[in-house]
């Protein structure tokens, strides 16, 4: 019989070790969603633009990225990120695995968020745009002051549940050597050969965080959004919930 190692979860030093991983996981999620939101806004507006040279590249970006596995993006930036960014940051630049993870996750999520934002904006009644334009606002100002504030507010619950997906997805960076929660778990496992204890413990921590977040987003509910937008969001979330 294998000696059991449940005792390590009562040891403060081990808990601190896992805590450091949890902090990495959280930082990574926040950085990824911040990057994703900015990029998503650009491509969502691009996709709804009337100019073809803006619309087509945006559609191509969103549909391509959505059709690829996140792990592919993360691995690609892990291996190639440094040399891709060297023209910008100088020849000595070395992309840390953490930031490779942020880039991969953030870009993938940006395509998903762009679709969510677009669904929110398209669900607004046409009268909103028309009234804004009739009052003499330019297209840009109508977007900035009338459409975007309403559309984004409608989509807050959808974005929150996307955050749970991102937190789950951050576990993928353990495969490129970032010491996130799962990465720390693997280090402990390699030292003590106690996969059952370690992976159950890690799973429970992920579960507590994601369950709390998804309950919170369910509480907010998509109640305000029109039915068509809700159906669209459900579809996006089913197709793009990655690991």
């Amino acid at each position: 019989m294998r000696p059991d190692t449940w005792w390590i979860f009562t040891d403060v030093n081990f808990l601190r070790f896992f805590g450091a991983g949890l902090i990495q996981t959280m930082l990574l999620s926040v950085a990824a969603i911040a990057l994703a939101f900015v990029v998503a806004l650009v491509f969502a507006l691009g996709r709804m633009s009337h100019r073809r040279w803006l619309r087509w590249p945006s559609i191509a970006y969103i549909e391509t990225i959505r059709a690829l596995p996140v792990l592919l993006l993360i691995v690609f930036f892990y291996i190639k990120g440094s040399s891709l960014l060297q023209p910008i940051f100088g020849p000595e630049f070395n992309l840390q695995p953490f930031w490779a993870g942020v880039l991969g996750l953030g870009l993938y999520t940006s395509a998903v968020l762009a679709e969510i934002i677009r669904a929110g904006i398209l669900s607004l009644p046409r009268g909103q745009t028309e009234a804004a334009r009739a009052l003499g606002l330019s297209h840009v100002r109508a977007m900035r002051y009338v459409i975007l504030p309403q559309g984004l507010r409608l989509m807050v619950p959808a974005m929150m549940s996307q955050l749970t997906t991102i937190i789950k997805d951050t576990s993928l960076v353990a495969t490129i050597g970032v010491s996130d929660l799962l990465g720390q778990g693997r280090i402990i496992y390699n030292r003590y050969f106690n996969p059952i204890e370690v992976f159950l413990f890690v799973a429970v921590i992920y579960f507590v965080i994601c369950f709390a977040l998804s309950q919170a987003s369910r509480r907010l509910e998509l109640g305000n959004a029109p039915k068509a937008a809700r159906a669209k969001i459900r579809e996006i979330q089913l197709r793009d919930q990655a690991a």
Binding site: R2, E63, T64, A67, L68, P69, V70, L71, L72, V75, F76, I79, K80, T164, K168, D169, S171, L172, A174, T175, L182, R186, Y189, F193, P195, I196, F199, L200, V202, A203, Y206, F207, C210, F211, S214, R234, E235, L238, R239, D240, Q241, A242, A243
Partner: protein, 224 residues
């Protein structure tokens, strides 16, 4: 030409083999997750309370933990518990990956099917019961057939997600498409080409699926 690297190793078939493994993982995983998902969905609408709790616990646990953690658990912990699907390491990895993918996506499938079952008009169910059908007969003859139509497009969306998520099988040593890309990259150092080829093959796999789902959605929506 992007993707030309796919045809450069004629005697090794790295990319075709990887693509074939990915397709196998997707198909087997999807079948498993649908079968399991139907069972869990029936648990979740069961009139028997403990079964309902069990179904809810399953769905919430598997939806709120990362697939990678589940795969690692199957891959590392099951042998430690004395459970081995096969003595052959490669076969074991493959089976663990299929099982993990099926378990994870079954939770999503179960939610979709539950929604479909609850979407069936209550009058139908009451009429069937008052005609003297037992609960099981009513499920099989009335409720399940009506739910199928509304459930197919969302399951198509899950299938797309599943096909993408098979990439995670790489981390437990299954030689699927992304792993093939890794081998080629390591052998040739032509990183961009190697991974662009992988991306193209994933697009070949998932874009037709997405188009098919959109088509189904429109077709089934009109008839509703």
């Amino acid at each position: 030409m992007p993707g030309g690297i796919i045809f450069e190793f004629p005697q090794q078939y790295l990319y075709p083999d990887g693509l074939w493994t990915t397709i196998q993982l997707s198909v087997l995983g999807l079948i498993g997750s649908i079968v399991l998902g139907i069972v869990i969905a029936l648990f979740r609408i069961s009139p028997f309370l403990p079964l309902r709790w069990l179904g809810t616990a399953y769905v919430e646990f598997f939806r709120n933990t990362p697939l990678l953690v589940q795969l690692f658990f199957l891959f590392f912990a099951l042998p430690a518990l004395g459970i081995r699907f096969s003595d052959d390491a490669f076969v074991f990895n493959f089976r663990a990956a299929v099982l993990g993918i099926a378990l994870y996506h079954a939770a999503y499938v179960a939610e979709v099917i539950r929604g479909g079952l609850l979407g069936v008009d209550r009058g139908q169910i009451e009429a069937a019961r008052s005609l003297g059908l037992s609960y099981r007969q009513m499920l099989r003859e009335v409720q399940l057939p009506q739910a199928v139509r509304s459930v197919i497009p969302p399951i198509g969306n899950i299938a797309i997600a599943l096909a993408k998520n098979t990439a995670l099988a790489k981390t437990i040593g299954v030689a699927e498409l992304l792993a093939a890309g890794d081998y080629v990259e390591a052998a040739t150092f032509r990183t961009v080409e190697a991974y662009v080829a992988v991306a193209l093959l994933y697009l070949v796999l998932t874009l037709p699926m997405a188009a098919g789902v959109n088509w189904l959605e429109k077709r089934l929506l009109v008839a509703r």
